[in-house]
Symmetry: C2
C-alpha cells in the first residue's frame, strides 16, 4: 500500500473522498461512545460486586484481624489486613504503608498541600515561600498529576518520556542546577499514557541524582499489579526505589502511591501511601488534624473481597481477562488501519489502562474534534501535557477499558478514519 | 448536709479519710473504663449494623436514584439521596450541600487548608500571607477544632461561652477592631462540651456583625438532630444563620457542617458541607484537584440504611433511647454526689454527646489524674481550651455514650469521689 507521503495530489484527493464517505457513514450512526477516561468497565465491576456481596453475606462481625471494631473511631494508619494487601502489591513492608481514603489522588494532593504550609522532611521552608517553585512533568503524562501542582502555583517543567522512563540526562541537568525544582511526577510501571516501564538505570539515577534537599519523587505506582498478561516475562519489572534512595543517602526522597480503585471499585476503593519512617510520621503528623481515621468498614470489606477472589494475583488475572481483548483489539485495528501509512506510532503496553498514539504533528486537535462530531469522545488533545499544550499537537490517549468490545471496535475505527483524513488533508495543504 | 466550705478542719479531715477509703475500694477493682471521647456505643452500632445488612440484602443494583453507577468514578458533589437527607437534617436546600468523605472534620480541615493557599470568597490574600492570623475559640470548646487552626499557625483567641452562645459583646469588640481575625469555631446546637444552644440574638449578631471581609463562621452543626428527648419543647431551636448572613449582606460568611458519624457508623459515616453558591463553588474548585469523587457506595448504603430505619427522626429516636438513660444516670449521680457540696456545676444538656462539669478551680488536672489511677479515663483536663490551657483548671468534659450503663455508674462515682477528695484537699490547704 502506498504511504500518504508518497502519493501525488490526485491520489491524495481520491483517498480523501473515500475517507470522508466512510466518516459520513459513521456520523450517520449517531454514535455515543467514550474512550476518554480510564474507567473500569461494568463487566469488571459486576465481577467484584459478586465477590463483595458474597463476602458481606459471610461477615459475622465487622472486626479487623487485630480485634478493632471497624464501626467505630480510630486506627489512623488503616486496617492491618489492608496494609498487608498493599504490602504484597507494592513490595514494601506494611509498616511503611498507610491505607487511607477512597483514592490515591487525594493522598498525592495532600502531600503537596501539606508541604505548602508545613515543613516536610529535608525542607527549610514551606513550599508556599518558594516563589519560583517548579515540578518536573514527564510528557506525555497524567493530567490530574500536573493539575495538582499547577493548582498550588508550581511552574510545570516538561521532560520528555522515553521507553525507559523520563529523559534522565535532562532531569539530572535541571535538578542539579535549580533547588526550586521540588519534585517529579512518575507513573513508573505501565506509564500513563504510554504504558512504558521505568528501567533499572532510570530508577537508580532518580534515586541518587543531585537535587534539592526536599526534592520529592511522586512515585505513583497505581498500575503495579495491573498486568495484561499472566506471563512474568510479559510483565514490567521495577526496582525498589525506596531502598535505592535510602542507599544513596536520600531516604525521604520518595513517596509511593497505589490504590484498589481499579481492583475493587473505582471511587470506592482504598488508597495507599508508602515511604520512609520519617515521611510516614510526617504524613500522619498532618493527617491527625484532618481526620480521626479512615473508613475501616470499607477497608474490611475490600480486604475480604480480595481474599475471596483468591488474592491479588487471581483477582488481577480476572481483570486482565476482560481488559486484554480490548487492548489487543485496539492495537490490531491501529495496525490494520494506520500501520502501513506511516502517519502514526504507538507502543504496545503490557499493562495499565491506556494506549498512547502519536499522530502526524498538527493533527491531534482536529482528530479529537472530528471524533467528537461523530459521537466518539476521546481525552482532549493536549491533556497529556502541562497547561494542556502539546507542542506538536500530536499525542492522543486512548482508554479502551470502559466500552464493550463491539463499541470499542466502532470507536477505534472512527478514530483511525479521522486520523487518516487529518493526515491526508495535512499533506494536501503542504 | 454540710458544704465543704462550711466544715472546720477536723470535719474536713474526717471526710477526707472516708473519701480516700472509698477511692481505694474503687482502685482495688482494677477498673478499665473510658469516658474520654464521644464514641457511639456498641449497642448503637449493633442497631445500625442490623439495618445495614438488611439494606444490602435487599440491594439489587448499586445505582443511585439518578441512575449513577455507584461503583464507578464521578459525582464530585455526592449522591442526590445523601444530599437530600442532609437537607432534611440541616434545614438547608440540597443544592447548597455537598456530601463527601467519611467525616466532617476533614471538610473543616480542608476549608482552612484551602484558604491558606487559595483566595476564598471575600479574601484579598491567601491566609498564609496574614502573618498575625487569628481564630476565635469559644471556651470551653472542641479540642479538634482548635487544633486545626493551631496547626495552620493561627493565634487562638478564647472567648467565653455562655448558655446562649459565645459572649457576643466580646466577639463583636474583637472582630470590629482586628481584620486579622479570620473566623470563629461554633457548635451551635448542643455545644461541645456544655450542650448549650445558640439563642436567636447570638445567631443574629454573628450574622450581621462587623468583621473582616473574609471572616468565616465555622458552623459545625454536628448535633443538629441528636436530641435526647422526642418532645419538640425539649429540643434546641436554632435560627438559619446562612439566611441571616445573606440578609445582612455577608452571604459567604458561613459554612455549615454535619455528618452521619453518630447516626450510622463513626468513621464510616458521611460528612457534609453547606454554604452559599459561591462558597460551594469555591470548595469544589479546590476539591476537583483533590479527588475524582467520594465513595458513592458508602453513601448509597447509608442513605438506604437511614430510609430503612424510618428516616432521620425515627433513627435518632432509636439512638436517644440508648443515650438518654446514660445522660440521665450521669446527671442523677452528679446531683446526688456533688449537688449539695457546692463544689461543681454543670448544665443539663438536651442533646449532643457531652456533659461539661466545672469543678473547684485548680482541681481538674488532679481529678483527671486520680481517675486515671483508678482506671477511669477522662478527656484530659484543659482539652476544652486552646493550647490545652484552662486558666481555672476547672473544666472537665464527660462523654457518657460509650460505656454500658453499669460501667458508666461506676465511672461517674469514681469521678465524683475524686472531685470530692480534690475539693476537700483544696479547702484543707487554704
Amino acid at each position: 500500500m502506498l504511504s500518504y507521503k508518497d502519493m501525488d495530489q490526485t491520489q491524495l484527493e481520491t483517498t480523501l473522498v473515500e475517507l470522508k464517505s466512510n466518516y459520513k457513514k459513521f456520523k450517520d450512526q449517531n454514535l455515543n461512545l467514550n474512550m476518554a477516561r480510564g474507567k473500569p468497565s461494568c463487566d469488571q465491576m459486576d465481577m467484584t460486586e459478586d465477590f463483595l456481596f458474597k463476602v458481606i453475606e459471610e461477615t459475622e462481625k465487622l472486626e479487623s484481624k487485630d480485634g478493632t471494631d471497624c464501626r467505630n473511631y480510630g486506627i489512623l494508619e488503616g486496617l492491618p489486613e489492608m496494609r498487608e494487601i498493599f504490602s504484597e502489591m507494592m513490595e514494601i513492608d506494611s509498616d511503611k504503608i498507610l491505607a487511607l481514603g477512597n483514592s490515591s489522588l487525594e493522598l498525592m494532593f495532600n502531600v503537596i498541600s501539606y508541604s505548602m504550609t508545613q515543613l516536610r522532611p529535608g525542607a527549610t521552608k514551606p513550599w508556599y515561600e518558594i516563589k519560583d517553585r517548579k515540578f518536573l512533568c514527564p510528557v506525555p503524562g497524567y493530567d490530574r498529576h500536573f493539575a495538582v501542582t499547577e493548582h498550588f502555583g508550581f511552574e510545570l517543567v516538561p521532560v520528555q518520556m522515553t521507553e525507559n522512563g523520563p529523559d534522565m540526562d535532562e532531569v539530572e541537568r535541571l535538578c542539579a542546577a535549580d533547588d526550586s525544582i521540588k519534585g517529579i511526577w512518575c507513573v513508573p510501571k505501565y506509564s500513563n499514557p504510554d504504558g512504558y516501564v521505568y528501567d533499572e538505570e532510570t530508577t537508580r539515577r532518580l534515586a541518587k541524582m543531585k537535587a534539592a534537599d526536599d526534592f520529592l519523587i511522586m512515585w505513583d505506582n497505581t498500575y503495579c499489579v495491573h498486568h495484561l498478561y499472566d506471563d512474568p516475562a510479559k510483565q514490567g519489572h521495577l526496582l525498589d526505589i525506596m531502598a535505592l534512595s535510602e542507599e544513596a543517602g536520600y531516604p525521604d526522597r520518595v513517596l509511593v502511591f497505589a490504590s484498589t480503585s481499579k481492583m475493587t471499585f473505582a471511587n470506592a476503593g482504598i488508597g495507599a501511601i508508602a515511604g520512609s519512617k520519617s515521611n510516614i510520621d510526617w504524613y500522619l503528623s498532618n493527617l491527625k488534624f484532618q481526620t480521626i481515621g479512615p473508613d475501616k468498614m470499607s477497608q474490611l470489606f475490600q480486604a475480604q473481597l480480595i481474599k475471596k477472589a483468591g488474592g491479588v494475583k487471581e483477582l488481577m488475572k480476572r481483570h486482565a481477562t476482560i481488559l486484554r481483548p480490548k487492548f489487543e483489539l485496539v492495537l490490531d485495528v491501529l495496525q490494520e488501519e494506520l500501520g502501513e501509512f506511516n502517519i502514526a506510532d504507538w507502543h504496545k503496553p503490557l499493562g495499565g489502562y491506556f494506549i498512547s498514539v502519536n499522530l502526524q504533528p498538527g493533527t491531534a486537535k482536529q482528530v479529537v474534534a472530528m471524533c467528537k462530531d461523530a459521537g466518539v469522545i476521546l481525552t482532549g488533545a493536549g491533556a497529556t501535557y502541562p497547561y494542556n499544550k502539546d507542542p506538536h499537537d500530536s499525542n492522543i490517549r486512548i482508554a479502551p477499558s470502559y466500552p464493550t468490545i463491539k463499541e470499542l471496535e466502532t470507536a477505534i475505527r472512527v478514530f483511525c478514519t479521522c486520523a487518516k483524513i487529518a493526515a491526508v488533508e495535512n499533506y494536501l495543504s503542504q
